[in-house]
């Protein structure tokens, strides 16, 4: 199966390592990705706050481009960023279920010379790995099993909320399954879905940083060696503010936070350079040493 790939803006900047490691891992596993040509921003949460229909229109543009590029039949789009993933999903569902909205957006698309037929299927890399590729196959590809590593999976919000397609909305396990397949110990903790605050670390630092502090503190309390995420913003918040948070709350909460694809890359024996490990602020010593 061939997949179209929608990177989203963050995977080109703060979340660059996510893209690098994802592409490296998929290459090694032999999963084909083709980037959607001339894609645009998904609008994330901010765009919705200003103008919903425009937010849906710009996202539909991406879906229409994908259909154009993906040929006939179902077109599977992989969206690694949780916000993009949810944004594309939500747009598809609203267009599927709300006739008036659909007509309006299709008209806009027509004006832009595009056609959207509703043939897209939005997929998360975890979904593809588990349900298409298979954990058994992944297990066989592991070269350096991550024994004795306690991994804390942090799912963030928008991977299973509000639309849970491949994992449980209240108790997701997919990232834990991947970690276990890599040989690691998946630590069960109660905050895997609790919000990191998104852009609040920048807009309302007091609140945003406190939310992250609570998460990091519990991760440490559960004796995690490493945290993994599937969202560029979560990763950014949890990792890049650790210095500020430690200072502010006078508590050492330092813990490596990496993308799950980086952790996979390590286990698959992919060179660190290709996985963007050098871009991390907190070196993932438990895995690199």
């Amino acid at each position: 199966m061939k997949y179209l790939y929608y990177p989203g803006c963050s995977l080109r900047s703060t979340g660059r390592a996510y893209e690098e490691s994802l592409l490296a891992v998929f290459r090694v596993l032999g999963i084909d990705l083709a980037e959607i040509d001339d894609w645009n921003c998904c609008g994330a949460t901010n765009y919705m706050s200003i103008n919903e229909h425009r937010a849906i229109a710009i996202t539909t543009r991406n879906l229409a481009l994908a259909e154009q590029q993906g040929g006939s039949g179902e077109v599977h789009i992989i969206a690694p960023c949780n916000a993009c993933y949810m944004g594309l999903q939500k747009t598809k569902i609203y267009l599927d279920t709300e006739q008036g909205l659909r007509e309006k957006i299709l008209k806009t698309m027509e004006g832009a010379g595009l056609r959207y037929e509703g043939r897209v299927v939005i997929r998360h890399p975890l979904d593809v790995l588990i349900n298409d590729f298979g954990l058994d196959k992944l297990k066989m590809a592991v070269k350096k099993p991550l024994h004795d590593l306690r991994v804390i999976s942090y799912y963030g919000c928008q991977m299973v909320r509000p639309i849970a397609t491949f994992d449980h909305e209240a108790d997701p396990v997919s990232m834990d399954q991947v970690a276990m397949t890599l040989g690691a110990t998946a630590v069960d903790w109660g905050m895997k879905l609790r919000c990191c605050g998104g852009s609040m670390t920048s807009t309302v630092p007091d609140v945003g940083q406190r939310l992250n502090y609570l998460l990091l503190k519990e991760a440490k309390a559960k004796k995690g060696d490493i945290m993994i995420t599937a969202c560029p913003l979560c990763q950014f918040n949890l990792e890049c503010f650790q210095g500020k948070i430690s200072k502010k709350f006078r508590d050492d909460i330092s813990i490596p936070v990496m993308f799950f694809t980086q952790l996979m890359g390590m286990a698959l024996g992919i060179p660190e350079k290709e996985l963007g490990i050098h871009r991390l602020f907190v070196k993932p010593r438990p895995v690199t040493v």
């Binding site: 080109r12 765009y47 706050s49 543009r61 991390l280």
Partner: protein, 196 residues
């Protein structure tokens, strides 16, 4: 608001029926994909599951009660809705299937249209900046997004983030230039042809 009370403080907390916007809830229900908000049983599950409710002026449950009753000005001019980070916990856990996150979005948009959102609050400003960036270029360059955002709000606040920014540049996680859309004019036209 509160006309006829001569501005005397003791009357301020008394809300008269005439001061309420009776159509408000209908508008929000329409904007937020559904009539389900009328099914709210005030169980408070949304507030309890919300990671940000402790920082809000009104809890999400109270916001819904206020929307239903027509407390338009209170809800819109307040920071509460802007503190919603769209984590969707409330939407998923609501026993009545109310799309609470969508209601929060609808309230944000309503506040912007009515121009009553809290001016000194940073989140609407970020949304605005983000919106303009996408409309102009089709994609977000996080460097410029944040720069423009700080220019819009409080340039001095940015100072605290300079160290972080340098570190990001150092690890290649921020860039000055980003690949752009092929035909940005057409993109912009498309955006602007969509009314809400």
């Amino acid at each position: 608001m509160n006309s006829g009370s001569n501005g005397k403080q003791p009357f301020l907390h008394i809300k008269r029926e005439a001061d309420l916007d009776k159509e408000f809830s209908k508008r929000i229900a329409k904007l937020a994909h559904g009539e389900k908000l009328y099914g709210c049983i005030q169980c408070g599950n949304c507030s309890a599951t919300c990671p940000l409710s402790p920082y809000m002026d009104y809890t999400p449950r109270k916001v819904i009660a206020m929307v239903r009753a027509g407390f338009r000005d209170e809800v819109l001019s307040n920071s509460t809705v802007w503190l919603c980070a769209s984590c969707y916990s409330c939407t998923v856990e609501c026993p009545k299937g109310i799309k609470i996150t969508d209601i929060m979005y609808a309230l944000k948009r309503e506040a912007i249209i009515k121009k009553v959102y809290p001016r000194n609050f940073a989140i609407p400003a970020l949304s605005r900046t983000f919106y303009d960036e996408v409309r102009a270029g089709g994609r977000i360059n996080e460097t410029w997004l944040l720069t423009r955002f700080y220019m819009r709000t409080n340039i001095f606040k940015a100072i605290g983030f300079i160290g972080l920014a340098l570190k990001l540049f150092g690890t290649g996680r921020l860039k000055l230039a980003e690949k752009k859309l092929k035909d940005r004019q057409q993109f912009r036209r498309m955006v602007e042809s969509t009314s809400n």
